[in-house]
Symmetry: C2
Subunit: 736 residues, 2 copies
């Protein structure tokens, strides 16, 4: 099925001459120094930096992507396993020190192979209309593969329900609140909502909590096809009317049946009815199909901000204009045990093999996965080739171990990665410097988009400054680096001189690393213009190789830029003698977060005679510790390996310090008190979510629950204060 790439990547591409030249320099350098363990010369690091950045070959990435996207690879299927073995084989050929597959047997969710999920309009029992079972092939031959699954939402409960439909806009908290204010009860109703603002699981959860019996999700053309129906795939990168985006609806992370423990052979599995899965059916449809419902809806006209891009007047419902018609949802998904695999490849470090820098990307996809995730997989395979070629030619190894991982079944809730962090959490917590995720290398070609733990921010900015800009128009405009375009096109609203760095929240395989273990993480990609609400083909059939190759990234220069950035970060974190963690940035981030809480909720908190004094003290002390530690870094005896190790271990402990083994209030799996994802939207990042979510709840909840909520707030405030104090202490030489 897949071709071996051994010959390809060695011979292909126009950079071979340059690589050879640089290799020559490195070999020369190496033979001069001989004893690598004494190396710490900046000049050499500079050569390595250039080598990594310039060796990434776009032709190889294209080739990898072409091979990977030839068939689907849904988590837990034989096709996923085939991809895993192909990746493993490439890494063996590239010369990894170790290649392993780690299997987990987990609860997955599949549509029926015979009975498609359908949304119907019924007149009494008569079917007046029904949605498409599959998305229509439009361009690439592989879109017509019979092995492609029926349209579904992962873990959506099976069910056969009818009800009056209600339009809920983006299905956000405020959208449901507006419906309630308008007196539109959701009990026994079917909610129709559009994708794009928050995680779909949160939409379904809020609908379920309000008594709805089913949810229909679609992507509105206003958000995903802004230039009209002629300007869509395959003529452009915008979403065609037949696109129905897949996606899982579960709110938890990892295997639903093995909370807290890995889904290994010896695991104990809780009964499925006790798993934290949503109980009502949900189903995605295309906007072409959604038109059939929305165009005949009854009820009040929706507010103007709720109007979408279909040429109709959007109404709230409930119900349809035709008497006797109801909306029907027929979902035939089944949850079933299946085995998914992570593929792990290791380049052992020379001086500190027991310190890990981990690079990860998932390789499972809902359908063909042309961008999500295989653009990232292709980037990872090229990046491993670059590092291993360097090793092959020069004997070079990074100071610390580099671990490359292809994750299985990410789309179902980070199953492969989360189970892995559960299985190896202790060792990972002890030894891991950073986890660098690329879920997809590109979802557009507009600018870089990065989510990060504050500890990694400065290093990412510095690396981005060194990556040549793949956008020729931008280069012509004088913006020579990836950083320059990022700063110009997506500046931080509060500090317009620097690019926007988003807080790492939820949404990909960093979940277990950042939020359970306290390992600083980042996730980067090239993204789309804000004209659309999300990657335009996100989770649809039309995420094909063609859309990447012909529309988004002709020549694969954007892939190359992301790969180079990823590689540069991997080099910096694995090979710098002192870890380039941005302690002061972290402290400033936390100070800002505290100021925001004071601004937004200070009066409310004060009204309860709750003092923020200890919290403020802790934040200030952390700030002082971060500053004085950073100054001290200049005085470290770099020739004393144990002194260097001591300093690095202290920096590594800062992120661990924020982990509360008890979890933040009500969420035992979300342990990071600073960066855990917000309860109201798992995708978004809001600092101190345990505090802020509770304050939001107090503002929204009836008065009789306030006492208990304030108690929860005070308890968590004390916990947060303790952990911020701990973060300050770990940077001190004293414990007490």
């Amino acid at each position: 099925m897949y071709q071996s790439l051994r010959r390809n990547y060695l011979l292909q591409g126009g950079l071979v001459a340059l690589i050879t030249l640089i290799l020559g320099i490195i070999v020369l350098f190496s033979s001069e120094t001989k004893e690598r363990s004494t190396r710490s010369l900046m000049s050499e690091v500079m050569d390595l930096e250039n080598y990594i950045i310039q060796s990434v070959n776009p032709f190889n990435i294209r080739h990898f992507l072409r091979e990977l996207t030839k068939q689907p690879g849904l988590g837990g299927t034989a096709e996923e396993m085939e991809r895993a073995e192909w990746i493993a084989e490439i890494w063996r050929q590239q010369g990894m020190d170790e290649v392993h597959l780690t299997p987990y047997t987990v609860l997955l969710s599949y549509p029926s192979p015979t009975q498609p999920n359908l949304v119907r309009l019924l007149n009494e029992d008569k079917v007046m209309w029904e949605s498409a079972a599959k998305q229509k092939p439009l361009y690439a031959p592989e879109e017509a593969l019979p092995s492609l699954p029926y349209t579904f939402n992962g873990y959506a409960a099976p069910g056969n329900v009818s009800g009056d439909v209600v339009y809920a806009n983006y299905g956000r908290y405020e959208d449901f609140t507006l419906l309630a204010e308008k007196g539109i009860n959701l009990t026994s109703r079917i909610v129709l909502a559009r994708y794009g603002k928050i995680f779909r699981g949160n939409i379904v959860k809020m609908a379920e909590d309000r008594g709805a019996v089913g949810v229909v999700l679609y992507s509105d053309p206003a958000d995903f096809a802004p230039n009209g129906s002629d300007f869509v795939y395959p003529h452009s990168s915008f979403m065609p009317p037949s696109a129905a985006p897949f996606g899982a609806t579960n709110l938890g992370s990892g295997d639903p049946l093995t909370p807290f423990y890995p889904a290994v052979e010896s695991a104990y599995r809780i009964p499925e009815e006790e798993a934290s899965l949503l109980k009502i059916p949900a189903q995605p449809i295309s906007y072409g199909d959604a038109w059939h419902i929305l165009s005949i809806m009854e009820g009040e006209e929706a507010p103007s901000s709720w109007q979408g891009g279909l040429n109709i007047t959007y109404r709230l419902g409930p119900g349809l204009v035709h008497a006797g018609w109801t909306t029907h949802l027929d979902v035939n998904n089944a949850n079933t045990m299946a085995t998914t695999h992570n593929v792990v490849g290791v380049i052992k470090g020379r001086e500190e093999p027991d310190r890990y820098v981990i690079l990860g990307n998932h390789y499972d996809s809902w359908l063909l996965g042309g961008m999500d995730p295989l653009s990232g997989t292709a980037a990872m395979l090229e990046l491993s080739r670059v590092f291993l070629s360097l090793h092959d030619e020069t004997g070079w190894r990074p100071r610390r171990s580099l671990v490359f991982i292809g994750w299985g079944a990410e789309e179902y809730g980070f199953l492969g990665s989360f189970e892995w962090t559960e299985q190896f959490g202790k060792q990972l917590s002890d030894r891991t410097v950073a986890y660098l995720n690329v879920d997809m290398a590109i979802e557009g070609n507009y600018t870089l988009r990065t989510k990060s733990a504050p500890l990694l921010t400065d290093a990412i900015y510095e690396s981005a400054k060194k990556i040549p800009n793949p956008d020729v128009d931008e280069v012509a405009a004088g913006r020579l680096s990836v950083y320059d375009t990022w700063a110009a096109r997506r500046p931080d609203p509060l500090e317009p001189d620097i690019p926007l760095m988003q807080l790492i929240a939820s949404g990909s395989d960093y979940q277990g690393f950042q939020h359970s273990l306290g390992i600083p993480c980042m996730d980067t990609r090239y993204t789309y213009d804000n004209v659309v609400l999300g990657e335009p083909m996100y989770h649809t059939l039309y995420e094909t190789f063609a859309v990447v190759d012909e529309i988004y990234d002709q020549g694969f220069h954007f892939h190359t830029a992301v790969t180079s950035l990823w590689g540069h970060l991997a080099l910096v974190f694995s090979d710098s003698q002192l870890l380039p963690f941005s302690l002061v940035t972290y402290a400033e981030f936390i100070m800002k977060a505290l100021a925001n809480i004071e601004d937004d909720y200070g009066e409310l908190i004060a009204s309860q005679n709750i003092s923020l004094e200890h919290f403020t003290d802790a934040v200030q002390k952390f700030n002082e510790s971060a500053s004085s530690f950073t100054k001290k870094l200049n005085t470290v005896d770099l020739k004393n390996p144990l002194a260097v190790r001591h300093i690095n271990d202290q920096m590594m402990m800062v992120e661990r310090a924020f982990i509360d083994p008890q979890g933040i209030p009500g969420r035992p799996h979300d342990n990071h008190v600073v960066t855990a994802p917000s309860k109201y939207d798992a995708y978004s990042g809001m600092p101190f979510p345990g505090l802020v979510d509770t304050l939001i709840a107090i503002k929204e909840a009836p008065a009789e629950s306030h006492k208990e909520l304030w108690r929860i707030f005070s308890h968590h405030l004390a916990a947060v204060t303790h952990f911020v104090n701990t973060a300050g202490k770990v940077l001190s030489d004293d414990l007490w």
Copy 2:
């Protein structure tokens, strides 16, 4: 109040000449090598070993003990604080690198200063007899100090209750079961039980669970004064009739109001009614007083094994022979917030200051604390003097940091130490090699008694072999070391050639280190003959300096032996290049524990079609990892500091591997799946208590609860299997 000891310890004692000689050798050696960081010569370690062992000065220990025992020092009182400051001052004078006091404001429990707790016999409302409010002074002048508190049990609930008395022997699970079999209901009854076999809190808990309204506790002369009433304190070390042993009844560890978090200034405190404190009153009385009740008890004759040493026939009750008489319990304790302090002194390590070997002893006492704990405190102060004198004279520092700690409020449930492990748990878990506890240096002069994590076993045996035997008769019999007497007088029943090493369970300040953090711990002391059931003066007024100085340890040779052993272990763990952990011993211990479970419960487990196969595999793999790792130790490049660090870090992680952040079933605070204390007796150590306690519960519980219990068993079995697998993995160079 306390004299400074600066001059004393420098000039006193007969060992000065010897010390000077050895110091001379060390100084010579040091000036030759100059660069201490390159030292790893066994010959020098041998010199250090001899120096530590031979420098311990019994006169100094005696002096420290004399000063410490001049007044009481109940946790959280001004007198406790005075002791803390005295210890801190000594450490400053001795030259510690750092000395700190760490305060915790916690819920403590005190008797009323005005209304003593009394047990009464009532005839209708008339008081026919009542127990003593305080223990009678018998010998030492300080026994009469007015500041000594009324007799009480810590955290026993206040209450004024009457009821028919029932005798419950040692208050063990099997004792309560026998009462139930005999149809003796405990509802509304007062339980009278004797101390000595299990932790008193478990007695009260089981009585409370069975409906009793109060508990009276006493120590029976059969167990604590076996040679009759003429042969007791002050004429011997046996317990006099007026001795009423104090002790706390709470089952939890640490401050009852701040579970999981440290009781620092910013802490959140749960309402007292939600704390895990027992609800019924309890009160200790002397056996002289207990006679007044036991001698007039009604009911069936107690079984022969229940008969004690009072010259009466022990009866089960319920009630008394005199019509209209009831037993009355008047407890006026109050729980109140108070501040206790730990005293922390640090000798910073030279090569690895960020690795800690921690030595601890609590310094609070129920009354005068002559043995528990001040014999240990005196030993610690002399040991710190030895290490700091060595540093003073030669500049020597251990490879790793040595941390000496005096804990506050241990008697109330390890409050000082547990809060400290909650406050600094992350750093401690990351950096601590071992915690070496000496709760009391002596509670007798018969043999060494040691509880230990299996990881430390071999090192303790090796150290004990090097400590000169303090018992002249034993030396005359050819048993030259502490080890020899230990092996002769307390052999392992299964391996009679070696001394009995007990598993570390509950009962002192190692609780948080071993069971919450997974830091290997040991606790050692010289103990009594098995003729008595416990330290004969344990927690009574008569634990005086006199009983130590005149009866137990004339010349303080036994103190000296324990101090030397402690010091030798501190040296070995802080200064060996490779940590002397007994991995193979740990693996054998676990294999034996598995075999015991199979022998005792194999059929029962098999009857449920539950397989132990994965667990057995994990145990075997751990055994193989331990063996091959131990072999690999010989091949480590000792000149490569990071390679040595890597190896040591792997060994440190083994104990951490057994920590389940979720806790063992039903006990979120007991996290060590191998060594957590048994549910039925917090003092005793039984491997895999989460499994075994559940199996015991299945054997005892009614059939309708079996399904849920088997489910708990299976779930925990999978968890245990995972953590044993983790322990094997951390010794491997690979993660997966």
